[in-house]
C-alpha cells in the first residue's frame, strides 16, 4: 500500500510543479474535437493552431513569453464544450481567450465569457451581429462573418456577369442547411435581391440530407443561373454528386466556405471539378510561414498532424490563420501594457480590438496572401469582411479572385440594427466606443 501512496503523492507534486512552472506563460485553452462526425475539420483546425503556437515558441515566444495550451475533447457537442470551457478556464493561471469552432458551443459560452471576462473568437461562424463590439464586448468574429460572406458571394456572381447591375432578372437558388447556420445569411440575400433585382429561390436541405434528388429536380425545373450551396458535412459531396447526376453544371454552384474544404470535394470525385467555393484563408504550403512550419515544426518532429499530407490543407491553414491573429493580438497587448509580460484576458481583449495586420505586417509574418488584412477596433470586432473564391480542379483548390468584399455598407447597417435589437431585448447598455481608444 505504501508504494501506492508514495506514487500518488509524487504524482500530485509533479502536478503542482507543472502548474507553477506555467505561471509565466500565456495560456490558451483549446476546445478541440478529434472524434465524431466533424473530426476531420476539428483535427485540422486545432492541429494548425497548435503548429503555429509551437512555431512561435520555437522562435522564442511572444517577446519571450511562451504560449501554453491545453486541449479538451468536445465532440462538437454543446454540453461537452461548456464543460470543457468551465474545466479549462481557470487552469494555468487563467485562460486568455477561447475558440470553440462550433456554433452550438459558442452559443453556450456567449454569456459565460461575458461574465468571466474572457474574450471568445468565432472565426468564420457564429452570430453576424456580434461583429458590433459595442454590444458584444467579449465576442470576436475575426475576419469575416456569414453576412459579409453572403454579400461577397453576390459581388462575385456580379463580377461573373459583368457587374452587379447585370444580376437584374437572374435566377439564383439558395440551397441551405435547414438550421440556424443555414438561415443566418437569408436577411442579407433578401436585401441584396431587393437591391439588385435578382430572383432568389430558397431550397432547404434537412440535415443530414444524404439524398437530395427532389431538391435538385426542383433546381432543374427552375433553371437558375447560379446555385449557392450553404451546406455542412456530408451533404456537400452529396449535393455535388446529385447535381452531376441531374446535369447541373458544377461551375455554376457556389459553395459557402464550410463547403469548401478537401473533405467536401474529394468524396464527390470527378463530379466536383469546376466547383467554386468561398474561403477566408488560402491553402497550400507556398507561404513563408507555412514553409517554416513544415521545416521547423514538422522537421523537428513536433508537428501536431499525424498525417503530414494534411499540412497546408484548408482546415490546417484556417487553424494557422486563427493562431496568427491571436498571437498578433497578444503582441499588440504587450506593446501597450508591457513587453514580455503575461497578458490578462482583459488585456488580450484590448489586443483583439487593436489588431492591425496590414499587408506589410502580413508580409513580415510570412503570411502575405494567406488571409486578408485585418484591422479591428472597439466597435468593429470583425476587422476585414473580405472573402476569396477558389475552384476545385480535381486535385487542389485554385485561386480565382483576390480577397474581395461585397456591399459592406449594407451589411454594416444590418449588423448595427441587429445588435441594437439584441441590446434592447437583453436590456443592455452598449459601450461608448467613441470614448475608448
Amino acid at each position: 500500500m505504501m508504494w501506492f501512496l508514495r506514487a500518488l503523492v509524487g504524482m500530485l507534486l509533479v502536478g503542482t510543479a507543472s502548474i507553477a512552472a506555467a505561471q509565466n506563460e500565456q495560456y490558451i485553452p483549446l476546445l478541440s474535437y478529434r472524434i465524431g462526425p466533424y473530426a476531420a475539420g476539428g483535427s485540422g483546425y486545432f492541429g494548425g493552431a497548435i503548429d503555429y503556437f509551437t512555431l512561435v515558441n520555437l522562435n522564442g515566444g511572444i517577446n519571450g513569453v511562451k504560449i501554453t495550451w491545453e486541449e479538451c475533447e468536445t465532440e462538437y457537442n454543446a454540453s461537452r464544450g461548456v464543460e470543457c470551457y468551465e474545466r479549462l478556464k481557470t487552469r494555468h493561471g487563467g485562460a486568455s481567450t477561447v475558440e470553440p469552432l462550433s456554433t452550438g458551443i459558442a452559443y453556450g459560452l456567449f454569456e459565460r465569457v461575458a461574465q468571466d471576462k474572457i474574450p471568445m473568437t468565432t472565426n468564420g461562424y457564429g452570430l453576424a451581429i456580434s461583429a458590433e463590439g459595442s454590444v458584444f464586448p467579449w465576442v470576436f468574429p475575426l475576419g469575416t462573418t456569414y453576412w459579409d460572406q453572403a454579400a461577397a458571394m453576390i459581388a462575385y456572381l456580379g463580377q461573373k456577369v459583368g457587374g452587379e447591375a447585370n444580376l437584374q432578372g437572374k435566377k439564383i437558388v439558395f440551397m441551405y442547411h435547414d438550421s440556424a447556420y443555414g438561415k443566418e445569411p437569408i436577411p442579407v440575400f433578401d436585401a441584396l435581391a431587393a437591391r439588385d433585382g435578382f430572383e432568389l429561390t430558397k431550397i432547404p436541405l434537412t440535415p443530414p440530407a444524404t439524398t437530395q434528388e427532389s431538391q435538385w429536380l426542383q433546381v432543374r425545373q427552375l433553371k437558375p443561373d447560379y446555385v449557392i450551396l450553404w451546406g455542412f458535412g456530408v451533404m456537400n459531396p452529396v449535393a455535388i454528386k446529385t447535381a452531376a447526376k441531374l446535369g447541373f453544371p458544377r461551375d455554376r454552384i457556389l459553395g459557402v466556405w464550410w463547403a469548401g474544404s478537401e473533405e467536401d470535394v474529394i468524396p464527390a470525385g470527378d463530379a466536383a471539378k469546376g466547383y467554386v467555393t468561398a474561403a477566408f484563408s488560402a491553402t497550400g504550403t507556398n507561404f513563408p510561414v507555412m514553409q517554416e512550419i513544415v521545416k521547423k515544426v514538422y522537421g523537428s518532429g513536433k508537428g501536431n498532424l499525424e498525417d503530414k499530407s494534411r499540412v497546408g490543407s484548408i482546415y490546417h491553414t484556417r487553424g494557422v490563420t486563427y493562431a496568427i491573429m491571436i498571437v498578433e493580438a497578444i503582441r499588440q497587448a504587450q506593446n501597450h501594457f508591457g513587453k514580455g509580460k503575461v497578458m490578462t484576458p482583459e488585456q488580450v481583449r484590448w489586443g483583439l480590438e487593436h489588431i492591425d495586420l496590414s499587408d506589410a505586417r502580413l508580409k513580415e509574418l510570412g503570411a502575405s496572401g494567406l488571409f486578408p488584412p485585418v484591422k479591428t477596433s472597439c466597435a468593429d470586432h470583425e476587422g476585414s469582411g473580405m472573402v476569396k473564391f477558389q475552384e476545385w480542379d480535381g486535385k487542389t483548390f485554385k485561386t480565382l479572385t483576390p480577397f474581395m468584399a461585397g456591399d459592406r455598407a449594407l451589411v454594416h447597417k444590418m449588423v448595427e440594427q441587429g445588435a441594437a435589437k439584441y441590446a434592447a431585448e437583453k436590456k443592455l447598455t452598449p459601450r461608448d466606443c467613441g470614448k475608448e481608444g
Binding site: S32, I35, S79, V82, E83, R87, G104, G108, A180, E184
Partner: protein, 358 residues
Amino acid sequence: MLYREAGQFKSTYAADSAILPIRQDRIGLALILLVAFVVIPLTATPYLFSAILIPCLILALAALGLNLLTGYAGQLSLGTAAFMAVGAFMSYNFILRIPGIPLLLAFAGGGVMAAAVGIVFGLPSLRIRGFYLAVATLAAQFFILWCLTKVGWFTNYNPSGVITAQPMVILGYAFDTPPEKYLLVLSIVTLMALAAKNMVRGNIGRQWMAIRDMDVAAEVIGIRPMRAKLLAFAVSSFYCGVAGALFAYAYLGTVEPEAYNLDLSFRILFMIIIGGVGTVLGAFLGSAFIVVLPIALSTGVAFLDSTLHLNVPSSVGSNLELMVFGGLIIFFLIVEPHGLARIWQITKEKLRLWPFPY
C-alpha cells in the same frame, strides 16, 4: 446491522403508506437533501456547479419525465428533446410577450405547452405500440425542430434563429451566479421529483403500470387506456418541457433548436436504461452516469498524461475515452439489465441482513 427495520412498527395507515417507511431511509434522504441544499452551495467550486451539477440535475428531470412515460406507462418515446425544446422556446416567448409574467409561471407555461404538444404526438399511441410508436414519436422530434427553425415567431425573428434566455428574476431577486442557479434548479427538480414519486404510487401510477403490463387486461378492469396513455404523454412532456426551459435558462443561455437534437433524446433514453426503467431514483443515477463518467474519464486521461508524461496524442486520448465509456455501458447492462437503481435495491436488501446473512 445499521440498516435494519426491526422494532419500527407502523400503527397508522398513513405511516404504512409513507414514501419512505424505514427510518434509516428517511435519515438518509434528509442527509442527502442537507448536503445538496446546504453543504454543496457552501463548498463547491463554480466549475462543479456550472459544468456538472446543473446539467446533471436538468437532464435528470428530463429523464424522469421520460421514465414516467416509458418506464411506468410503457410507451417508448424518442421525442424527449423536442418536448424540451417546446418548453424552452415557449417559456422564452411567454417572458418576451407577456410583460411582468413571473419566471416560474413562464416555466410552467412552457411545460403546459409541451404537454399539449405531447398529447398531440401521443395520439398514435392509442393505435400502435412498441417500436412503431418510437418511430411515430421520432416524427415529433423532427417536426418540432423543423417548425422552430422555420417559423420566425418562435425566436422573435432572430436572424440566426436562436433564442437568448432573459435574466432569471424571481420577486426582484436575480439568479445569475452558478450557486444561485444551482439552488433554483435543485428546488424545482426536488419538488417535481417528489410529485413524480407520489404520482407513481397513487391511482394514476397504478393505471399506467397496468397499461404497461397488459393494456387489454387493464381495460377489462376499468382503466380507460386513452385517458391513461394521453395523461402519461402530457405529464411526461410537462416534465421534459420544464427541463428544457431550465436547460436554456440555467445552463446554456443562448440556444438554437439544434441543441435539442435527436442525439439528446437518445442520451436521455440511455439514462433511463442505465439508471433503471420504471424508477424515480434511476433517472438521477442514469443522468449522473451519462454526464459525469465521460468527464471523469477525460479528466483522468489528461491527469495521467500530464503527471506521467506519457505524451498520449490527443486523438488517442479522445478515442480511448469513448471506448472505455462504451465498454462500461455494456458491462453494466450485462451485470444488471435492470439498471443502477436495481443494483442499489439489491445492496439495500443485502444490507438488511448484514452481517448475518442466511
